[in-house]
């Protein structure tokens, strides 16, 4: 890309809105995706992420707003007039064409006759040398996925859209393709916009992640920043797990924000407070919590909660404890099995403690209670 990579190639969504009847799928969405970045749109199904992608591709017409590529608004261009290509969730390979012709499709439609060299180059980029004469049906899911990628990349689009491209693959292949996709993106330097519901996939691949919920972006940033300091309770629980204790804050006092929750007093550094007055959530990630047998074992400068161990799941790299607090909520605590810690018995009293610099404060709707026990079918990717 070199130094001449100007903002002219950035993809910018401005007040993008899509309504289907009374349902608002994408709600006044604005964001900028810098040229050459690997950007992930992360959200549960139905959050509007695929609709957003389809509006960038031109397969869905926005109800309002702009899709800007550089200074050019492409929101009303037909899909075949946009310098944007898509890797579809279903791959959508043409069953009547062989692999080479599938890959060459975009070049041929633009009237390019000599395609063989470029097709060969693309097939080796996705490590499918020698597959040119086969039909899509003769390939495995992972191979078809790579053909779909080659078919899009051969056109050197300004933006490559990936719609849950790894969703149909099994876990092992998915890991492999994640690394592969990242390698290819670095190699070709094209802007990748990746839509996924898999938070781990988003975090491992993308430079920037936007967490979407109900048609809006809840938070946008580098994966580590979002994980370490989520902006909302939704993000705190969608991207990994969080223990969120309902409390009340009464404004900052110096560098600290004091919080009272369930009869105890805690404090959080002011820099880690998204809200510092009124109803708040005090959040701590499960792996940032530590366990001790009693309160006098808690190191100085740490804050703690007493409770009883109700469950201990040994998962190899760590043991995941559930600690029931005196007011009845269950805290999730991950203890690394590094050999330093002793195993705590289920049913025994224990103390969960944390460094206040690892806690964060989030705004809370009045009346909302603790959100500590993980929802069962949500991925707990960060633990593996």
């Amino acid at each position: 890309m070199g130094h001449d990579a100007t903002p002219a190639g950035d993809l910018r969504l401005a007040n993008l809105t899509k309504r289907f009847g009374v349902f608002t799928a994408v709600d006044d969405l604005s964001l900028t995706i810098p040229q050459g970045s690997f950007f992930a749109l992360l959200g549960a199904s139905g959050c509007g992420k695929t609709t957003t992608l389809r509006m960038i591709a031109g397969l869905e017409e926005p109800t309002g707003g702009q899709v800007l590529l550089g200074d050019r608004d492409i929101a009303r261009l037909r899909p075949y007039k946009r310098p944007v290509n898509t890797v579809f969730q279903s791959y959508a390979l043409f069953p009547h064409l062989d692999i080479a012709e599938n890959v060459a499709f975009g070049l041929r439609r633009r009237g390019i006759r000599k395609v063989d060299d470029e097709v060969q180059r693309m097939l080796s980029l996705v490590q499918l040398d020698g597959f040119g004469k086969r039909r899509p049906a003769q390939l495995s899911g992972g191979q078809q996925q790579r053909v779909a990628l080659a078919r899009a990349l051969i056109n050197h689009p300004q933006v490559l859209l990936l719609d849950e491209p790894l969703g149909a693959l099994d876990l092992k292949l998915r890991r492999q393709m994640q690394i592969e996709l990242k390698r290819i993106q670095t190699e070709v330097g094209i802007t990748f916009v990746h839509v996924t519901h898999d938070q781990e996939e988003a975090m491992t691949m993308a430079d920037t992640v936007a967490v979407m919920n109900a048609g809006r972006i809840e938070q946008l940033g580098a994966p580590a920043d979002i994980y370490e300091f989520p902006a909302t309770a939704f993000v705190a629980n969608f991207l990994g797990q969080s223990n969120l204790l309902a409390g009340e804050a009464a404004g900052p006092a110096g560098d600290e924000v004091p919080v009272s929750a369930h009869g105890s007093r805690f404090s959080v550094p002011a820099a880690r407070a998204r809200a510092d007055r009124g109803p708040v959530y005090l959040g701590v990630r499960p792996e940032k919590l530590h366990l001790a047998g009693s309160a006098d074992q808690v190191p100085s400068g740490h804050q703690h909660v007493d409770g009883v161990v109700t469950d201990a799941s040994y998962v190899g790299v760590s043991t995941q404890y559930l600690l029931r607090t005196s007011w009845g909520s269950e805290l999730s605590v991950f203890v690394a099995n590094s050999g330093v810690h002793q195993q705590l018995p289920v049913g025994g009293a224990a103390v969960a403690y944390w460094d206040p610099r690892h806690a964060f404060l989030l705004p809370r709707e009045p009346g909302e209670d603790d959100r500590t026990t993980p929802v069962l079918d949500e991925p707990v990717g960060a633990s593996s």
Partner: protein, 304 residues
């Protein structure tokens, strides 16, 4: 672990017959299922066909009253062809024009029903099939009314000067071709519909994403993928249309007679069985030749 692994095997062996016996029974089953159909085909298709083949070689000087002698009269064939080649070529010409017209109407129709009709799909399909609920003869007679000299259609065409003041539709080649087009249209539309209905719209989106204009998407994706239905539909249309005689009989004059009319009269009016049989075989051979060439080309996806 070993114990667990053994239990299911033992159970399944006990509860089902030995594999060899089962395989034996299933090996015969397909043939048993074929039997009724095969017997039917033999009795009512193969045998009559053989008899017809024999009749085509009878002594042409014989008659129904005096009886026919088998003289291996291969001369019946060139004789029939020489006499009736105008009707032969007319059959293929009319059926061909009708096929082109039917394709121009039927493809968009099938496409619209399959991809765009939404909840109206079933109703529209019924509309396509509905004319078949009345008899072929009645439908063709209805066309006779529509095309008649004092009907509204001719009146309209005369008013806008597409027809001269004495111009007519009935008893012209136009009427016969229109009748053929109308009567066999459903045979083209239904297989086409079945093919287009299976067409994955995501492939069309992918084509559009890959710089194909709507026209290119049709040419490169929709058309090739609807080929099976298109081939089946054109054959189902073209074969009966070529052999048809009702349309020429009711909507045309002897000047529009097709080979079907000649065969009809050979068997039922002139009672010239050898000639009728020879013409039947010639028609069959000609259609087979056309179909063979067509399928060879269509197989390589370059029929259009």
């Amino acid at each position: 672990m070993t114990v667990l692994a053994h239990v299911p095997t033992g159970q399944s062996a006990a509860s089902s017959p030995p594999p060899a016996a089962r395989r034996g029974r299933y090996r015969l089953l397909p043939y048993l299922l074929l039997l009724p159909g095969a017997a039917w085909l033999f009795l009512f298709f193969a045998l009559p066909l053989l008899q017809l083949a024999a009749a085509s070689l009878y002594d042409p000087t014989g008659s129904l009253a005096t009886g026919y002698a088998m003289t291996w009269a291969f001369g019946n064939y060139p004789e029939a062809l020489q006499t009736y080649w105008p009707q032969f070529s007319r059959s293929f010409l009319y059926a061909g024009i009708a096929l082109v017209l039917a394709l121009l109407m039927g493809y968009p129709l099938a496409y619209a029903i399959a991809q765009k009709a939404g909840r109206w799909k079933n109703l529209l399909l019924v509309c396509v099939v509905a004319p078949m609920f009345t008899s072929f003869l009645v439908r063709t007679l209805a066309w006779k009314t529509i095309l008649s000299d004092n009907g509204w259609l001719v009146g309209l065409l005369r008013d806008i000067h597409l027809l001269g003041p004495d111009g007519r539709l009935l008893a012209t080649p136009v009427a016969v071709v229109l009748g053929l087009t109308y009567n066999f249209l459903p045979f083209l539309v239904l297989p086409l519909y079945a093919s287009l209905e299976r067409l994955d719209y995501r492939l069309l989106e992918a084509a559009s994403d890959l710089y194909a204009s709507p026209l290119q998407t049709f040419r490169r994706v929709t058309l090739p993928l609807s080929m099976p239905g298109l081939i089946a539909g054109t054959l189902l249309f073209f074969i009966p249309a070529t052999g048809d005689y009702i349309n020429a009989e009711l909507l045309g004059t002897p000047n529009e007679y097709m080979i079907g009319n000649v065969i009809d009269s050979a068997f039922l009016v002139r009672l010239d069985y050898p000639q009728g049989a020879a013409l039947s075989f010639l028609l069959m051979a000609a259609i087979l030749a056309v179909v063979f060439v067509y399928l060879r080309k269509a197989g390589t996806e370059e029929v259009l």
